[in-house]
């Protein structure tokens, strides 16, 4: 038992933090927000120069090995900058699904291009999807970075497929989205011919676990950044002849943020580690992490606006990027109440 980063993990964290801090600047993110919500140059640099995009994908599937702990470390660093990247849909969900459930040919066909950033994948889920053979009919209203994707991994509750975005019967409609760093698209399938993944159950499970952990880690990074930036402001801004950070009402809100963030940190790495180790607690841990970290992020981002006063309400200030990302993370991949109900079912049995 050693619940702390290894030297290698600490190094990955430092590398990722430095990369996103230097490159995922507010200016670049805002340019991406005005377009398709992706800083394409940053994505290419991340995938091809930094060499971290294959983390969490087994080496025999063309990845860099390692596990969800390392993936979480990277997502935390990206989340801290609200980086406008397709990491969640393309790497954490689609690539994980293909690595876990795809045939060797499917892995060879898609994973190298996803990990190099040449191809961006979206993750489409429709519980009510109908499959006539492998001709799919259904829709997902909220596919993250869906309009920028060239290929989709499509799942129902029992099946999983791959389909190119330009295939016949696929309609993609971009949506104006509150969080412009991760805009949604509506993806409709109308008898679209798709290639089934060999092991759908493994694909779905892997995409869910990695998706929950990645969202939680991104939330942790965002929450910590919201606190750090607010702490910086609290030391500079003067009112009534004192820095505002000297007021107890202000200090206590900052403390409340830190209390939640420290728990979120435990949650994220507990979940990542539990999945990597195949622990009995893995399901409990990923539901805990997703719900707790997303709620923590929203609380911290809301406080960030409040504690900055008027400037925090402006478009110019970055607080709204955090606030909107936090809100999106609360909703996506199951609300907090849904995840907690999963936990309640484990403890109490299914609801009456």
């Amino acid at each position: 038992m050693e619940f702390a980063f290894t030297d290698e993990q600490a190094m990955i964290a430092e590398t990722a933090r430095a990369f996103f801090t230097e490159n995922a600047t507010s200016e670049r993110t805002r340019k991406a927000m005005a377009a398709d919500g992706i800083d394409h140059a940053l994505w290419t640099a991340f995938c091809q120069e930094l060499g971290l995009s294959g983390i969490g994908i087994p080496e025999n599937a063309g990845g860099a090995g390692l596990g969800l702990v390392e993936l979480a470390i990277i997502a935390e660093a990206a989340g801290a900058q609200v980086a406008a990247l397709p990491m969640l849909g393309s790497l954490a969900m689609a690539a994980q699904a293909i690595a876990a459930g795809g045939s060797a040919e499917q892995q060879a066909e898609w994973l190298p291009r996803l990990l190099s950033g040449e191809v961006i994948a979206g993750y489409v889920h429709d519980a009510a999807l109908t499959a006539d053979g492998n001709a799919l009919t259904g829709a997902d209203q909220f596919v993250a970075h869906g309009a920028a994707a060239q290929v989709f991994v499509v799942t129902s509750n029992t099946g999983a497929w791959i389909i190119p975005a330009d295939a016949a019967g696929v309609t993609v409609t971009a949506c104006t989205t509150m969080d412009q760093t991760r805009p949604y698209a509506r993806v409709a399938l109308s008898g679209a011919a798709a290639a089934p993944l060999a092991d759908a159950a493994s694909a779905i499970a892997a995409a869910h676990r990695a998706g929950f952990v990645t969202v939680a880690a991104e939330a942790l990074g965002g929450a910590q950044a919201a606190l750090d930036r607010t702490v910086g402001y609290a030391k500079e801004r003067v009112q009534f002849g004192r820095v505002i950070g000297s007021f107890q009402a202000y200090k206590h809100r900052l403390a409340d943020m830190m209390i939640e963030i420290e728990q979120a940190r435990s949650a994220v790495y507990w979940a990542a580690c539990a999945v990597d180790e195949g622990s009995d607690e893995a399901e409990l841990a990923v539901h805990s992490a997703k719900s707790f970290a997303a709620d923590t992020y929203f609380m911290c981002a809301g406080n960030m606006i409040q504690l900055h006063g008027g400037i925090g309400f402006t478009w110019e200030h970055d607080a709204h990027l955090y606030f909107k990302r936090a809100r999106a993370l609360q909703s996506m991949l199951g609300s907090g109440n849904w995840h907690r109900e999963r936990i309640a079912s484990m403890i109490l049995g299914d609801a009456a």
Partner: protein, 396 residues
């Protein structure tokens, strides 16, 4: 990063569980499951001695002083199995976890010889004399006075004043006392740390009845109370440094054992909710899930704290731990009453005595007060963890 315990650790866990379960099924079955700190004090002192006889009383201590020099992992495992087996809390918790480590860190060889074997053996029960009626959150404003005098050729400390909230003082043999030894000194300066025997004419103990009807805490009065000159730990004037060092021991391994106690409480709520139908209420289900999440995050927070090897930086998990568990447990008490409904407000018999869950509801109001209130914790977190300016001191 690794969560699983090694095979050797799991074997040790089995050894702990076997012995503890054997005791709770055998000679000490009468104390199994007791949660109230004041219940069956004599039997629990015998239990302390039983632990010592089998070298389980202070496994983290060095071997020469009765411990096993156990690794952190083993200390964690023992604390977890201890609570899991339903063994009541240690009446000598203060001696083993605070007084002993303080003497080990700051005491002279003679003091180690004098105190450590008897603490390890469960023969000397300690309590803690820090708080005073005028020194609660503001712990440094201690007024109890100590002066050194020559009495029939021997130097002795003479102590006058009052301590309060001395937990279990009425069943303790010794008390450590922080007092003011420098006339006119203020705050953390001029304080002195003394070990005093309780059974003497100058010390009087009065119980404080709490909101749950129990009396775990006491007022302790010192009227020309005495102790020999060599009862001093450290040097005169170093009392604050030693008291703070001691408080650092408090957030150690015992937190994991404490959490197993919380686990038992949450399990009892879950059982009650299943039995009375509250488990089908969606809002109750959400709160039980939140409690479950919170308990796990406490465990992994504590494991992070214990895995932290770089003690030079202030560890966020350690700094936020107290308010985290205190707030969690207070919410747990409220959840317990919402699950039980009015049945939780009626005692079993004629006495004003409460079962585990209603008692949890009442007792947990103390959790967010003692050991630094939630409000003081937030000040500490903001100041030490986030570098905010310190609260100004008044001069009233």
């Amino acid at each position: 990063m690794k969560l699983g315990f090694s095979r050797a650790d799991e074997l040790f866990r089995a050894e702990c569980a076997d012995w503890l379960n054997g005791q709770m099924a055998g000679e000490f079955r009468d104390i199994k499951g007791i949660t109230k700190l004041t219940a069956s004090p004599e039997r629990r002192k015998e239990w302390e001695q039983q632990l010592a006889a089998h070298k389980w009383s202070c496994i983290g201590w060095p071997e020469e002083w009765g411990g096993r020099n156990a690794s952190l992992a083993h200390q964690v495992i023992f604390a977890e199995e201890y609570a899991r087996a339903g063994v009541p809390g240690r009446v000598n918790h203060i001696g083993i976890e605070l007084a002993g480590p303080t003497i080990l860190a700051f005491g002279t060889d003679a003091q180690k010889q004098r105190f450590l074997p008897d603490i390890a053996a469960g023969k000397t029960i300690f309590c803690q004399g820090f708080s005073e009626p005028g020194a609660g959150s503001d712990l440094a404003s201690v007024r109890t006075k100590a002066r050194l005098e020559v009495v029939s050729g021997q130097e002795e400390w003479i102590v006058n004043g009052q301590k309060i909230w001395t937990s279990l003082a009425h069943i303790s043999d010794w008390i450590f006392v922080v007092s003011r030894s420098e006339e006119g000194s203020k705050g953390p300066k001029g304080l002195t740390f003394l070990m005093m025997e309780i059974d003497q004419p100058g010390i009087e103990i009065r119980g404080i009845t709490q909101i749950n009807g129990d009396a775990e805490f006491n007022e302790t009065f010192f009227t020309d109370a005495r102790c020999p000159a060599d009862s001093l730990i450290g040097a005169p004037g170093e009392g604050w440094k030693i008291a703070m060092g001691l408080l650092a021991f408090e957030r150690g391994v015992s937190t994991l054992g404490q959490q197993m106690g919380f686990r038992n409480e949450l399990d009892e709520i879950i059982a009650a909710a299943k039995a009375n139908g509250a488990a089908s209420d969606p809002l109750i289900r959400q709160r039980i899930a939140k409690a479950e999440i919170g308990l796990n995050l406490m465990r992994y927070g504590a494991l992070r704290m214990l895995s932290q090897t770089d003690h030079s930086k202030i560890d966020g998990a350690a700094l936020t731990y107290k308010i985290q568990w205190a707030s969690w447990r207070r919410a747990l008490g409220e959840l317990a009453m919402d699950v039980l409904g009015q049945a939780g407000e009626v005692a079993d018999g004629a006495e004003y005595e409460w079962d585990t869950l209603p008692n949890l509801f009442l007792y947990s109001r103390a959790d967010t007060i003692y050991g630094g209130t939630n409000q003081i914790q937030r000040n500490l977190i903001a100041e030490r963890g986030l570098g905010m300016p310190r609260e100004p001191r008044g001069d009233v």
